[in-house]
Symmetry: D2
Subunit: 150 residues, 4 copies
């Protein structure tokens, strides 16, 4: 494939995920933004705000989980068959360290693509003064669903 086709495809993929991201009310409400998108891999960023905290002032595990679930689900979406959307079936997240800093970055990466189920791993980092610290690790199962279900 010529480089120009490759970059057209890459741009189309990004547009498709950006469109889904923009329709996610929660992502807008939390102030999250879509980062890099490539086949099987999606980044989501979340700047700190007091509106995202738990009782100790750290990022709430719910906020961390929300961007991790989104990065993972959309990573699966980049490899879903045509005419399909995706739905999270389940996930498990370990909160490795207190989530504090200027922002969080979640990176979803497809581990195993099946016909029905896709297994994704998501790393979440806290960014602070130029330093990147791992704060969470997620394993997620995502299901492919036909766009129009009976």
């Amino acid at each position: 494939m010529a480089p120009s086709s490759l970059s057209r495809n890459a741009a189309a993929l990004r547009d498709r995920i950006q469109d889904l991201f923009d329709r996610s009310g929660l992502m807008q409400h939390l102030g999250a933004t879509l980062g890099d998108v490539s086949s099987g891999r999606v980044h989501v960023h979340l700047p700190f705000s007091p509106a995202l905290t738990q009782h100790l002032g750290l990022f709430h595990a719910g906020a961390t989980s929300a961007i991790a679930d989104t990065a993972g689900g959309f990573a699966a979406m980049t490899q879903a068959p045509d005419g399909h959307t995706v739905l999270s079936v389940e996930f498990k997240i370990n909160l490795l360290a207190p989530a504090q800093g200027e922002s969080l970055e979640a990176i979803g990466q497809v581990i195993r693509k099946g016909r029905t189920l896709t297994i994704v791993q998501v790393d979440v980092f806290a960014l602070n003064a130029g330093q990147k610290t791992p704060v969470a690790l997620m394993q997620q199962t995502v299901m492919n669903l036909p766009d129009r279900q009976p």
Copy 2:
């Protein structure tokens, strides 16, 4: 213990959890409210809003997880030793059915209280037209932390 002491204790417990809940920026930002509180058991409610959705218009798994993690963490908090707070170590959530309806209710229940770790189970229901449907099930590990860490 006289009934009056019991209800004084129950009120004190509720006040303590309500105070922590009010300091959780994310809970206010999502529009969640604290429901019933008793020893080992906490309810959290979340009315539907377009600000809580994923790309298909359902409650985002991140919103579901946020109230489940809160209900579970505070259920553990009701049984934490004096002078301790709690922090989620990890959780796993199965999304049982599309989360749609007028509101969600998360009910956290302590399963096993240890010295350091508390294991909690959280059921999440969708409420719609008077019907209650299970939409998520969580297993969570919560850690007791001394209030002032070195």
Copy 3:
């Protein structure tokens, strides 16, 4: 349905699960036995043996997981569509207390039956001197698979 049909069906269900259980090499090798079987619910027993221990002499988490995964998978199997078998997709287990005693009992219970995926919860108890102590709690996702896959 007449009581006699009900009990014929119950016996047929038990036979079907017993047959699958007998074909599970690992269950025989560990010394596990099938207990009660009903629609959506399966019990598995595991008598203690030094062959089942970890380095401290407790039941190994792998032994606990093996009978929990079996009880859960076969609980899902009792409700699988005709012409289908089941396969574990994933599970998460919390080890609630040191697993020691005369035997373990795992009880798998279907929580949510879907077309493709069944969500199961499994409780594991240790039995000792007539006492039953919860030692593990599992959430499991099981997939229905057509008997003959292409």
Copy 4:
């Protein structure tokens, strides 16, 4: 540190883990063997046997989990403080593909070492005709315990 000290330490670490492995009755009973050991990383091998199967003749998820839990727990053990042993608190495993082949290999790798809890990731591969296929992925939480508990 001089190379000779380094290799003495490496040998001591391996001896320590091998000793714990040999005391794990289940590992002997399944026919598992200890592979490479280094700080934060432990390999466990499991040759196929009909005694390790589920009802379809694949490696039983309980066998896969048993060696994954062992590799992960002992990976945590390599970094546990002096005078401590380890206990699995919980784990979550995704079964990525049918586990079949000549043997399985589980590789546990410490992701985050805390004072009380260590988070470990375990990859499990099937080996067949010189090919290595990922069959499972585990996230595990392991607790440090003083050798002699009160």
